[in-house]
């Protein structure tokens, strides 16, 4: 970038595109003059869950949204260093010789068939010059997403995931000087194959859940069990004198690229694994064993993270911790870190996983490569496409559904409250799509949180998922303490639904649909400044029922990404047990018998 004017910090508009791709959850984010303008996960546009393909649709949308041509980009930043990653893959194949032979051809085909040539892919797909294509390290991208996106000027940084290039966990600190100069210093790291993310994923696979998707299920299942296998887990996650840990690799096979991530020895200790299609009832003897295993790995994960965070707090003496990487999606662990590590604030971005690295890589390049002064990043998750509900009215009318247009916000909210109070399930679409895996009030399914029957109905007729999985509550931030036991800093952690906290005992029976079996809930604390309409809805529901809490779950069906456009919300509404769809100011209701008759007539 030698001769590039903006590298020296001149005042011209600097446009940086961040990209994450090729492993899971690809995404693009655009930064203009140091401030994010838009960001979206590829899956929201391609409609393929966890789409890992090169995010061409996401890139095109970002550029269209900002009215930027590819040639106007000052830099395109990829979220990791492909050659360094390839070095790791090759080294692991060598270390695992000859046992790594079954995986070697596929690993090489993957790398040599595309993943290694990211620079060429970016140059050819976008038509940008090679010297404008940059590469930030994976964990530095996570660190930047966590720290530069947080409202903190001095913070410790912890990142943990499955693996980036070599690092699986990094510890460091970030600071913003008075003149806006940002720095991110990573002191220490753990390297593959010693990885908390891979540990948890291995147990996820052992418990019969899909890796990179089923980790939430392990966390949900853990609440049903006792950590009776904790000692066994501690033996395979051996703690080291420096505060880190080393996995006993005799129990794992993921580092050799085997089809199965755990070894025979692992099965000897924990028993036979669960097959993905086996029903899982935590009340049965076999189900209880799986729940105990889940509780054990969850406990050990929390212990390791709390210890690492505590040592980081002692070392830095700081109040704030920014936590990134896929492991930061573990809300139970986050809550324990906040309670026990000594940090007063814990900041987890709305997309702490790889998708968020698109934004992190762009921020890293802006602040640390181009040395632009720091600018606060707007503290919300709504970076995706805005809702355009105009087509919805036409479609609903064509299908003969009941339709209302309610332009006045108080009336719209009153209508939503009417439906919710009547026990109806509401699909709620407003504003711009969230960045990250959670629906935070713009692409949500909402319902009354009071009865366990509502949870069961949602699991059965909409989400088609296991009954042991909990649903999350949303509450106005001002009233969160009334219902939930939030530690200091807990309300902030709940901003993006990143913490699991106890429900006050006296409210548990009245919040049965959102209270997990262990009396906890993954709370979203809603601030009016971040989501005014959603906040107003919660307040209005509270005014009517005395409890300003709603069940909030992502607006999607099993196996599908969260909806983006109104027509996708409509399709989901039509195929599921959602009773009412409210998209912008359009309200659509079902009349099932009419629909069935219509379809038969057409056919």
């Amino acid at each position: 970038m030698g001769g590039h004017a903006s590298q020296t910090g001149s005042v011209g508009r600097l446009r940086i595109l961040g990209i994450s791709a090729h492993y899971h959850d690809s995404a693009a984010a655009l930064l203009i003059d140091g401030v994010p303008v838009c960001a979206v996960q590829e899956e929201r546009l391609s409609r393929r869950k966890n789409d890992a393909a090169f995010p061409l649709a996401a890139i095109e949308w970002c550029l269209d949204f900002a009215g930027v041509q590819p040639e106007q980009l000052d830099a395109v930043v990829f979220y990791e260093k492909p050659m360094l990653k390839f070095e790791r893959i090759l080294t692991l194949a060598l270390r695992g010789f000859p046992r790594s032979w079954p995986a070697f051809p596929q690993a090489m085909k993957n790398a040599l068939g595309g993943k290694l040539w990211v620079k060429g892919i970016i140059a050819s797909e976008l038509g940008v010059r090679g010297d404008r294509i940059l590469f930030a390290e994976h964990h530095r991208s996570h660190a930047a997403a966590a720290f530069l996106g947080a409202p903190s000027r001095n913070a410790a940084i912890l990142t943990a995931d499955g693996v980036g290039e070599w690092a699986t966990l990094s510890m460091g600190r970030g600071s913003i000087a008075a003149d806006g100069t940002a720095s991110i210093e990573l002191f220490r790291e753990l390297r593959f194959p010693h990885s908390l993310g891979m540990l948890y994923s291995t147990f996820t696979a052992y418990l019969g859940f899909p890796v990179n998707e089923g980790e939430y299920k392990v966390m949900g299942l853990a609440s049903y069990g006792q950590p009776s296998f904790a000692e066994q887990v501690r033996r395979i996650v051996r703690r080291t004198a420096d505060g880190g840990f080393a996995l006993d690799l005799d129990y794992f096979e993921f580092h050799e690229g085997a089809r199965r991530s755990f070894s025979k020895k692992f099965v000897e200790v924990f028993g036979a694994p669960r097959e993905p299609w086996d029903p899982l009832d935590p009340q049965s003897a076999e189900g209880a064993r799986f729940a105990d295993v889940a509780a054990s790995v969850q406990l050990v994960l929390e212990e390791v993270l709390v210890d690492l965070a505590r040592s980081l707090q002692r070392e830095t003496g700081l109040d704030d911790l920014c936590f990134g990487g896929g492991v930061a999606l573990n809300g139970c662990a986050n809550a324990r870190i906040l309670r026990e590590s000594g940090f007063r604030n814990l900041y987890v971005p709305s997309a702490p996983g790889d998708a968020g690295c698109a934004l992190g890589a762009a921020l890293y390049a802006d602040r640390l490569h181009f040395r632009r002064p720091h600018r606060p990043v707007p503290d919300h998750p709504y970076w995706g496409p805005a809702l355009e509900a105009t087509d919805l009215a036409r479609i609903a009318l064509e299908d003969g559904l009941e339709l209302e247009q309610i332009p006045r916000e108080p009336d719209l909210i009153a209508c939503a409250v009417d439906h919710l109070c009547a026990g109806r399930i509401v699909g709620w679409m407003q504003g711009r799509t969230e960045m990250g895996p959670r629906a935070l009030g713009n692409r949500s399914i909402l319902a009354a949180p009071h009865e366990a029957a509502m949870r069961d109905a949602l699991n059965r007729s909409i989400k088609y998922r296991e009954e042991f999985r909990p649903f999350a509550p949303a509450v106005p931030i001002e009233q969160a303490d009334r219902f939930f036991q939030l530690p200091s800093g807990g309300a902030r952690l709940g901003r993006f639904m990143s913490g699991v906290f106890p429900v006050h005992r006296e409210w548990r029976s009245r919040l049965a649909a959102v209270t997990h079996v262990d009396g906890t809930a993954r709370v979203q604390t809603v601030e009016a400044s971040m989501a005014p309409r959603f906040h107003a809805l919660l307040e209005a529901y509270g005014a009517r029922t005395g409890i300003p809490v709603l069940l909030n779950t992502s607006f999607n069906l099993a196996g599908e990404p969260i909806v983006n456009r109104a027509v996708e919300g409509y399709s989901t509404f039509r195929r599921s047990g959602i009773d009412v769809l409210i998209a912008g100011e359009t309200v659509v209701r079902k009349r099932r018998h009419d629909l069935a008759r219509l379809e038969e007539a057409i056919a």
Partner: protein, 251 residues
């Protein structure tokens, strides 16, 4: 029972010739279960593709039918999954051999790029897929004399398949009254081309695997020794972070 007089599900000649083999494949209850569970996944994937088609079409009638079809596929997935689980709960174990090439379920929908299809080409594709799947389901039903419950599942699915074949055929004729025959031939050619591509890429993959496997055993041993020795020297636990490299570097 096949509800529609318009289109009947009939097995292909090849499948009829392979009837004894189908009988053998479906004889084992655990293998049967795994196949049903695989069908469940395929049906669910197909349902998602149809939902996507409903979201993309501008034709109101097609949208309603695609949505209905998507719901049917989801219901089939549930039926297959439930029956598969019931069979798995029975004692015994199956061999690893599943013969998926012989009993692929509703293959084709899973690698469909709905966004790239027009309504006509999609309908033609769906019509052929449904017809092929229904034909195979007739065969499966026939070889499952000893398992009335699984037979019942196929019978219920076949009722819907008949509807799907009928509506895709009728709608194709509506949208393309003069060229619907051509569209069907084009879809057949497309399926053949995809089959060829699958086969070719499988052959290429085998060839690549053999070449890389040879390189692995011929070139890597010496480097592997060095790598193993270096790994033994690495202290466990935390290590100093790698110093940041310039962003232009891919290392």
């Amino acid at each position: 029972m096949l509800a529609s007089p318009a289109v009947r599900a009939a097995p292909s000649t090849l499948d009829l010739l392979l009837l004894p083999l189908h009988r053998l494949v479906w004889a084992d209850p655990h293998r049967r279960a795994r196949k049903l569970l695989r069908f469940a996944e395929t049906e669910a994937d197909g349902g998602r593709d149809l939902a996507r088609a409903a979201e993309l079409t501008f034709d109101p009638a097609l949208r309603r039918l695609y949505l209905r079809h998507a719901q049917d596929e989801q219901r089939h997935a549930d039926l297959f999954r439930r029956r598969g689980r019931e069979l798995l709960s029975q004692p015994g174990s199956a061999s690893k051999f599943e013969a998926n090439w012989l009993a692929p379920g509703e293959r084709g929908l899973d690698d469909l790029r709905v966004e790239k299809q027009s309504d006509e080409t999609l309908l033609a594709f769906l019509h052929l897929s449904e017809k092929a799947a229904a034909g195979r389901f007739v065969i499966y039903r026939r070889v499952l004399q000893a398992d009335p419950d699984t037979r019942g599942v196929f019978a219920r699915v076949l009722e819907d398949e008949a509807f799907h074949m009928t509506y895709t055929g009728k709608q194709l004729a509506r949208l393309s009254p003069r060229k619907h025959g051509l569209r069907l031939w084009q879809a057949r050619a497309g399926r053949l081309w995809k089959t060829y591509l699958r086969l070719a890429s499988a052959v290429a993959s085998v060839f690549g695997t053999v070449m890389l496997g040879l390189q692995y055993f011929l070139l890597l041993p010496a480097f592997a020794l060095v790598a193993k020795r270096a790994a033994r020297r690495e202290p466990p636990g935390l290590a100093p972070s790698r110093p940041p490299t310039p962003l232009q570097s891919q290392y």
